[in-house]
């Protein structure tokens, strides 16, 4: 495995596999998010129930939130390996060409050239996203542990959060439009007959991701989804809610 990592082709394989793991998670994440579309519900929002279910998953066989943490550990390791591999490969690639003579662009796609840029921006977004909705450290809008629906609702009443999330989706889309196809090529799962299908397939996949993820913030912002039930709001942080109670009522 170490020898595999040392060779450039092996390292690219590993980068592709870790990328695939992250993409797999994105699909699950998107499906999970869509639970928000069921609205605030009669007593508990479906997405809140889903969030609790994720934590209870496997109990009593497994400890509380075990699966959740296992997934988090896998994702973090995949991300770290993915980035380390890319940094090392990029250094290698830069060293292979004289610094002042970049190759003329003939036909490479914009997405493929922007992979590093979109990658860094997406990483920054992931950190922001975790701070906002996982650790609940961003107190611009009221956030409360466990009240997923209400957290989302208030966050996406703000136009700038909507803009950040939609922009991030477009960046992820750009990264994956080259990344998904590239992954098959790097793992050698391509063949001449399949290649155009893989190219178009990755475009379609990216569009599905953008629509699937983007629908939720847009539905909240346009008030298609109802505000959370009052009961959930009362317990949330008092100071921040003060200014919003008009909207809640």
């Amino acid at each position: 495995m170490i020898a595999f990592w040392r060779s450039s082709v092996g390292k690219k394989n590993i980068v592709a596999v870790t990328g695939a793991i992250l993409i797999g998670y994105l699909i699950l994440h998107m499906l999970g998010n869509l639970n928000s579309a069921f609205g605030p519900g009669a007593d508990e929002a479906r997405v809140d129930w889903y969030a609790h279910w994720l934590r209870d998953f496997g109990e009593p066989l497994l400890p509380h939130a075990f699966v959740l943490w296992a997934v988090r550990v896998i994702l973090l390791s995949a991300l770290v390996i993915h980035i380390t591999g890319i940094v090392q490969l990029t250094k290698r690639n830069r060293a292979a060409r004289p610094a002042n003579f970049p190759a003329k662009r003939i036909g490479r796609s914009f997405e493929s050239m922007a992979m590093l840029g979109t990658g860094v921006l997406v990483l920054a977004f992931i950190i922001f996203h975790i701070l906002q909705f996982t650790t609940l450290s961003i107190h611009v809008t009221p956030v409360e542990e466990g009240a997923v629906y209400s957290n989302l609702y208030y966050a996406f009443q703000k136009w700038y959060f909507l803009v950040i999330y939609v922009a991030a989706l477009l960046l992820i889309g750009m990264h994956l439009r080259h990344g998904v196809w590239s992954l098959f090529q790097t793992l050698g799962f391509d063949n001449p007959n399949r290649n155009p299908k893989l190219r178009h397939g990755s475009t379609v996949f990216v569009l599905v991701l953008i629509v699937g993820f983007g629908a939720i913030p847009v539905l909240f912002f346009t008030d298609v989804l109802d505000p959370p039930n009052a009961a959930a709001v009362i317990t949330s942080s008092i100071g921040a809610v003060g200014s919003l109670t008009g909207g809640v009522a």
Binding site: A3, N13, A96, M113, G188
Partner: protein, 260 residues
């Protein structure tokens, strides 16, 4: 036709650390049907009459099959037509145009002089496995060792690589993956290549890394300049062969037999 040429000059034999520079030449009265190399020949004849140092560039067969010519014309390896430099004709350019002529730009291809670069790195990649060690003898009875037309087509599409190195020069990463992929695809698909299938791909990839070539990021620029129009599918094949060879090495011998 008349042209202004900006030609890269480097290493006149006095200073080995010289960085190189562009020098401007005017050429006049060029036949539109002259090839790019013939145009350079005319310029060199003039330079030698003027007792000036001629421009060094590589060429051999001048019919597009040997892969010796290696000019970067206006930033594109082999010029605008996706053929070798020797098959690029002056009629492909506009009369009075300024044309920039450079050597291949890759740290693995050090400049020998002017437009000639040392492509020995590609030869060493071939030495690391791009061959078959066994004498296969006379042509066998066809039915005893069938090769399907699909496999044969694929192998021959890769085998037409002339090893000119334009793929390396076009690649933003200076990677030799298209070249190596073509050689591996060619040999690993055919019966003669089977005994050394794994050692070939491992050896060639390791040599490629040792030479300092970059890696593939699937830009596809190599394929767009390849005079033989080799598709980047050969890179997929190279990746696949390498992964299979590496994972097979780990498995137990008897398991390796069954996966064959």
């Amino acid at each position: 036709m008349n042209f202004t040429l900006e030609i890269w000059r480097q290493f006149d034999g006095t200073d080995e650390t010289e960085a190189g520079r562009f020098e401007t030449f005017k050429v006049t009265d060029i036949n539109p049907d002259a090839s790019f190399l013939e145009m350079l020949d005319q310029l060199n004849e003039r330079l030698s009459h003027e007792k000036k140092r001629t421009i060094a560039f590589d060429s051999d067969c001048r019919e597009g099959i040997c892969g010796a010519c290696s000019l970067v014309i206006d930033g594109t390896p082999h010029g605008p037509q996706q053929v070798t430099s020797c098959q690029t004709y002056m009629r492909d350019f506009i009369d009075g145009q300024t044309i920039k002529v450079e050597p291949y730009r890759a740290n693995t291809f050090p400049v020998i002089r002017d437009l000639a670069v040392d492509r020995g790195a590609l030869d060493r990649v071939i030495q690391a496995g791009g061959y078959i060690s066994t004498t296969t003898g006379p042509q066998p009875e066809p039915n005893s060792m069938p090769v399907s037309p699909e496999i044969q087509e694929k192998a021959m599409d890769a085998a037409i690589c002339i090893g000119c190195g334009a793929c390396v020069a076009a690649c933003p990463n200076g990677a030799a993956m298209l070249f190596t992929g073509a050689k591996v695809t060619h040999l690993n698909l055919l019966p003669q290549g089977q005994p050394e299938r794994e050692s070939r791909v491992i050896g060639m990839v390791e040599q490629m890394d040792a030479e300092g070539f970059g890696g593939c990021t699937n830009y596809g620029e190599c394929s767009r300049v390849c005079p033989q129009e080799i598709s980047i599918d050969v890179i997929g094949m190279l990746n696949r062969e390498y992964r299979k060879a590496k994972t097979k090495k780990k498995s137990k011998p008897e398991k390796a037999m069954t996966t064959q």
